[in-house]
Symmetry: C2
Subunit: 459 residues, 2 copies
C-alpha cells in the first residue's frame, strides 16, 4: 500500500503539468475522416509515440497499416504477472458545424474545471490518462507492477477498417491476458461505472440520381421524380410510427433483454426529465415498450446521420436537384451480424426505391455488438480500481456506442476486454464543444494506476 | 418594309459586336440570392443603365427599392402610337454546384454557337436583345416606331419581393398599353413560340430542431427523435404514390384543363423519349392521369428544392443531427392563391410534424399563376414578329415556370403581357452550364425590332 501512496502523491504533484501536456496533444487536428488532415493524423501518431517513450515504454514504434499507423510500445519485465493490452485511438471526429464551438476545437481551453477540445474525451484525454499512470510508476519505482502493451490506433473514428486484419496478423505481438479500453463515458457525473456491453454498427451512404443535372423546378416540375423527395420516401419507409425498424429480418437475431437485466437498470440513478432537458429535446422518443436506457443500451436503432441535396444556401433557388444523398446508420445489439444486416438493408432499400431514380449504396462501417461475462475477474478488478480512484463503488452499465475492436480482440486474441471510461454523458464526443472534466481526468490517472496494481494482484 | 430591311441589315452587320458586349454583361456575378454579391448586383444595374443610355433611351436612372434598384429608361416621342413597357431582370441565379460547370459561370464562353454563362438565357441575354433592337432603330432612323419604357429589375431570382409595391406606387411612370417580357424559352429548338400561360409559386423553408446540439448516435441513438428522419417523414407525407399532393384543400381552386386545350397540346411536336433522354432520367414520373406537357404546364406541383442535415462530408460521422432543413416549393396553376396555399401548407405541416421536434416555417416567395387572353391583339402581333425574325410560324404554349410580375402588371396597371422568349428548353436556366443559342439571340434581336414595328401598326 505504501507503494501505491507514492504513486498517487506523484500524480497529485504533477496534476497541472499533465493538463498542459494534454493541451499539446489536443491541439493536433487528427481528423481521420478528412483526407486533408492526413499529415495531422500522422503527427498525432508521432506525438503519441514520443509521449509513451518518455513515459518509459520500450520498443516504441509506428506500425504501418494500409491506412493510418498503429502506435505500439511495451514494458514486459514483470515475469509471472498478467499482460495488459491497452487499446485507444489518437484520431478524432470532424468538427463541423465549427461555428457552434465556444472556443476553437483545436485550441484547447479550460472553463469551469473542464477542458474543451475535439478529442478531449474521445479519446486522446483518456489515452493520455494511461500514459501518465505508466509515467508515475516508472518515475517513482522504475518499473510497472504488470506487463503492458500500448496499442493506439488512428482509424477508430472511420470504423477501424484496417484493424481487424492487423490484429489477426499480429497475434503474437498483441498476445495478452486482458484488453483495457478507456473510450466510453461513466454512467453520470459522480457515478463512476464499468461498462459491460456495447452496441454494434452498420453505416451506409445512399446516393440517388434523378437526372443528369439540376433542373428548373418551374420548367420541369411535374415531369420527373425529384430525388430529394424520393429520398425522403425511402428513409420514411425504414421505420414505422412506433419507432420499429421495417427492414425485413432486422430483428431476427436480436437477443431480447432479460427481466433480470431490465430490473437492474431500473435501479440506476437515471432521471429522465433531467436527461431530456440536458439534451434540449422537446420530448423523448423511441421504440414503444422500452425505457430510455433500454432503447439506448439494449435495442437496435436506425438513424439518419446526414442529408444533402439541391440548394442549401441562403434564400430561394427553384431547382429540382439532380442528386440526393443520405448517410444512415444502424446500431446493433447482440447477436445481430453487421454483414447480414447490410444485406437486408440493401435489399429492402432497393425494393422501396422506385425505378425513377438510380440508387447507389456504399457500405462505410460495420462492427458487431459486444457483451462481457459479468463475473469476469478483470471486470471485478477494474471495479475495485475505480472505487479507489474515485472514492465510490462503480455501477455496471452498457453503452449505446460501438467499439468494434472489442469483438475483434475477443475473436482474434481470445482475450476479454475491460471498459474503463471516465468521460461524462454530456461530453459532446461527436458534437461541438467536446470536453473532459479535469477532476475525472485526474481521478482517472489514479484509477488507471490502481487498475495495473489490481491486475498485478490477480495472477 | 424598306425601313425594316435597313434595321435588319444593321443588326446583321453588328452581330459579332453584340456577342462581345453581351460577354461583358454576363461576366458580372449579379447573384441576388447571396448577400456577398450585393456590390455585383448594383454593378449590373449600372451596366444596364449605361447600355440603355448608349442605345438611345432617355431619362435613364436607377430607381431605389427596399432591395435592389430598378433600372428605368424611356423613349416617348411617337405620339398616337402604343407604349410598350419592356420588363426584364439583371439579377441571376446562384451557381452551385460550381464544379459541374464546363467553363466558369462568369467567364462567358462560346462553344458550338452557344454562349455559356450564368444569366445567358435567364435573363441578361434576352434583356440585351431588346437593348440592341432599340439601338438598331436609333442608329439607323434616329427614332423608334413606338413609345417604349424599359423596366429592368434586380430581384426576380429572389421572388421580386419589392416589385409589387413598386409597380403600385409608380403607376403613372409605368403607364403603358402592353408589357413585353422575354424571360422564357421557346417550345423547342427550331420551334419558336409565344407563351400564353405561366404557373405561380409558393416557396418555403422548413427548419426542424430536435436537440440543442448534435448528439453521438451511439450514446443517444434510440432515446430522441432524429430531426433528419422526422423531416423525411414530413416530406413523404406531402404527396401520395400517384404524385397527388396531400395538403388538404390544395386542389380546391385548381382550374381543370379543358378538353380543347389538351387536344391542342397533343398536336405539339413533343417527343417524350427524346425529352427523357435529354434530362438523363431513368423514367419520367408525374401525377397520374396527365401527359408530361399537362403536368408541367397545367398542373400544380410540390418539389423539394434542397435538403441539409448533419454530416455531409466525406466518410462517416456517427451523429444524430440537432437540426434538419428543407427548402420546398409548389408551382401553382390558375386560380390557386399563393396566400391560401401557404396557410394550407403550414397548417398541414404542423399537423404531420410530431411534437418531438420544434418546427419553423419561413415563407420565401409567392406569386400567382397567369394566363393571357388567347386572341389578344398584342399576342397576335408578337406572333407575326416571331415569324419574321425566325422565318417560322410560332406555336402557342404555356410554361411551367413563374414570372410573378405578370400578374402584378395585369392587376396594378390593367395591362396585358406578351411573353416573347427565345431561350431553349435545355438552356439550364437554374443549373450548371446555362447557355443561350447565338442564332436565336440574333434572330431574337430582329424579332424584337419587328415586334416594335408590328405594335406600332396596331394603334
Amino acid at each position: 500500500m505504501m507503494a501505491m501512496d507514492q504513486i498517487v502523491d506523484y500524480i497529485n504533484l504533477h496534476r497541472d503539468r499533465y493538463v498542459e501536456e494534454l493541451k499539446q496533444y489536443l491541439s493536433i487536428p487528427s481528423i481521420s475522416a478528412l483526407p486533408q488532415h492526413a499529415d495531422d493524423v500522422r503527427r498525432a501518431a508521432e506525438w503519441t509515440a514520443t509521449a509513451i517513450t518518455e513515459a518509459g515504454l520500450e520498443n516504441v514504434r509506428l506500425l504501418e497499416t494500409p491506412g493510418n499507423p498503429v502506435v505500439y510500445g511495451e514494458w514486459l519485465h514483470a515475469p509471472g504477472k498478467p499482460t495488459i493490452l491497452y487499446y485507444g485511438h489518437y484520431d478524432v471526429q470532424p468538427v463541423d458545424p465549427v461555428n457552434l464551438w465556444t472556443s476553437p476545437p483545436f485550441e484547447p481551453t479550460v472553463r469551469d474545471g473542464e477542458i474543451f477540445a475535439r478529442g478531449a474525451a474521445d479519446d486522446k484525454g483518456q489515452v493520455f490518462m494511461h500514459i501518465k499512470a505508466v509515467e508515475a510508476f516508472m518515475k517513482q519505482q522504475g518499473r510497472l507492477p504488470v506487463n503492458i502493451k500500448f496499442f493506439i490506433e488512428g482509424e477508430e473514428e472511420v470504423g477501424s477498417m484496417n484493424l481487424d486484419a492487423f490484429v489477426r496478423s499480429h497475434q503474437e505481438l498483441l498476445a495478452s491476458d486482458v484488453v483495457v479500453i478507456s473510450d466510453s463515458p461513466m454512467f453520470d457525473r459522480g457515478v463512476p461505472s464499468i461498462c459491460y456491453g456495447l452496441r454494434g454498427l452498420a453505416y451506409f451512404q445512399i446516393d440517388l440520381r434523378g437526372t443528369k443535372s439540376d433542373l428548373h423546378s418551374g420548367s420541369f416540375g411535374g415531369a420527373v421524380a425529384n430525388p430529394a423527395f424520393v429520398l425522403a420516401n425511402v428513409l420514411a419507409a425504414m421505420k414505422d410510427r412506433s419507432g420499429r425498424i421495417k427492414i425485413p429480418g432486422f430483428y431476427d437475431d436480436v437477443r431480447e433483454l432479460t427481466e433480470e437485466e431490465r430490473a437492474e437498470w431500473r435501479k440506476l440513478p437515471f432521471n429522465e426529465t433531467r436527461y431530456r432537458k440536458e439534451l434540449g429535446a422537446p420530448k423523448l422518443f423511441g421504440e414503444s415498450g422500452y425505457t430510455t436506457l433500454e432503447r439506448v443500451w439494449g435495442r437496435p436503432t436506425f438513424e439518419v446521420n446526414g442529408l444533402l441535396s439541391g440548394f442549401t444556401g441562403e434564400g430561394a433557388k427553384t431547382v429540382i436537384p439532380a442528386v440526393a444523398m443520405a448517410k444512415v446508420s444502424m446500431r446493433l445489439v447482440p447477436a445481430q451480424d453487421p454483414d447480414k444486416i447490410a444485406a437486408q438493408f440493401e435489399a429492402y432499400l432497393k425494393k422501396v426505391c422506385p425505378k425513377t431514380v438510380e440508387v447507389k449504396v456504399t457500405r462505410m462501417q460495420g462492427g458487431k455488438a459486444w457483451m462481457a461475462e459479468f463475473d469476469n475477474k478483470f471486470v471485478r478488478a477494474a471495479g475495485r480500481a475505480i472505487e479507489k480512484g474515485f472514492g465510490k463503488t462503480p455501477v455496471f452499465n452498457r453503452e449505446g456506442g460501438s467499439i468494434p475492436v472489442v469483438s475483434t480482440f475477443q475473436e482474434a486474441l481470445g482475450v476479454p476486454s475491460v471498459l474503463f471510461g471516465v468521460g461524462l454523458p454530456d461530453e459532446n464526443a461527436h458534437a461541438p464543444d467536446e470536453k473532459l472534466d479535469l477532476g475525472n481526468f485526474h481521478n482517472g490517472i489514479i484509477a488507471s494506476a490502481y487498475l495495473y496494481d489490481e491486475i498485478a494482484g490477480l495472477t
